[in-house]
Symmetry: none
Subunit: 263 residues, 2 copies
């Protein structure tokens, strides 16, 4: 991405949470971790909980104060579990992600560095720390149970940022059925044309075949066929099978006409 | 929200992860938890990790199989860390959330029940479980490090759902097809429950019937059925028929078994 995002942990007391935070960051493509007054980030528990994100922990930089940790950042987002009085503007995780994405697309993105600041597990960020932030972020949650785990909060924020900034190659080469009519039209092209939706011509042959079976079995009364025929057609046209699937269905229809062994 | 969303954990091996999942759910306002073949959800560790979401754990329902756990659900979303062959349509967490939100805003919402299914920590969902899903969800992440913690995955999915569903003006006239299938929102929402996607239980009866016909006609070799069975299942699960359509297909299957006039 064109804007650098660093995660800053302040006063973390459970070493496992630092591992979980590193793991959460890395799953979303972030690696830059800064620490202020935290417990050990290289304990056995931290490394275990990072589950392979050891590199993030090992490269983490420690600072004597939040002020020093964010000295080179132009945008500082503090996370907060609750609304506070006298605080900087409070926005939702999605609003913040959209703002950061806007920044990432700007001409001066490369000169920006954004800090995402997470406070102590129970007490959050002190008022002094909040005063260093340019924005406050709140993850919208159940008003009766807003106790997000610290690792989970990092996960949600990192996820939102990665979604917005598109730092991660979205849905990279994922082989999917050709007939998948996704909402964004961005599905990668399938390699096998027989996995594409069948042609209309092939569909007509299929409907003729199906119709023959329906009439011959007495399921469809050809004297009064209208509604049933249309319902069957509507279903398969709304969910047009691939050429491969159509072959399969035609094979089944043929089998019902000429069973290979008695039923 | 007007659509009921249940979380289903399958084969979870770490009891702490069940606590983390319950906590993640509750922070986003979800409380309905179903368990299939998991470790203990009431251990001291699970309760501790739930951090106050004990009620979610205590109310959790256990089932003997995924099939039973989702029997009353019309939409079944499986989470998957990786792309699979022969799977149902794969969508991103945000696309799924948007689809569920669309459903939540529809007139049928109260009659729908959506299952979010999470597999075992390391291996995910088995192919057999995936075959029971109407959609697959993938959390977009770092292609080089996609190892999301189970609790984190539940957190991200719950967060996305709560963001999407809570932003829908409830009862707003959002016309969507009764058969929920993505982007082509043209048809008005039917109120007839038989026009909604069939339940998983009804689908299983249909598949049993279809299987009988396939075997009895010699189309399917029961000694080597795997791929064909899964392809048929994949097609109909990806395009789950309404209860009405299912009746129609079952009528046709019965007719092929007992034709009313000679073919």
């Amino acid at each position: 991405m064109s804007v650098e995002i660093v995660f800053v942990m302040v006063g973390t007391t459970h070493t496992g949470n630092l591992g979980a935070a590193a793991r959460a960051m890395k799953t979303m493509g972030f690696t830059s971790l800064r620490l202020v007054d935290t417990c050990s980030h290289l304990s056995a528990e931290a490394l275990a909980r990072s589950s392979g994100a050891n590199d993030v922990l090992k490269q983490a930089q420690s600072f004597g104060s939040l002020k020093e940790a964010i000295a080179d950042c132009r945008v500082v987002i503090g996370t907060s579990a609750r609304a506070r009085q006298l605080a900087v503007p409070l926005k939702s995780s999605r609003e913040i992600a959209d703002e950061v994405a806007e920044l990432a697309g700007s001409a001066d993105a490369s000169q920006q560095r954004v800090a995402m600041v997470f406070g102590q597990e129970r007490s959050g960020l002190s008022n002094e720390s909040l005063d260093l932030c340019t924005r406050l972020l709140r993850i919208p949650c159940n008003p009766d149970f807003s106790s997000l785990n610290l690792g989970s909060a990092v996960q949600v924020v990192a996820y939102e940022l990665s979604q917005a900034v598109n730092s991660v190659p979205q849905g990279a080469p994922v082989p999917i059925p050709g007939k998948w009519k996704g909402s964004d039209g961005a599905a990668p092209a399938p390699l096998d044309p027989d996995e594409l939706p069948a042609t209309s011509e092939a569909m007509e042959h299929f409907f003729e075949h199906l119709d023959r079976v329906m009439v011959n079995t007495g399921f469809l009364n050809p004297d009064n066929p209208r509604l049933l025929r249309r319902k069957v057609r509507r279903y398969f046209e709304s969910n047009r099978p691939s050429a491969n699937e159509l072959s399969m269905f035609r094979g089944l229809l043929s089998a019902t006409e000429n069973p290979r062994k008695p039923s």
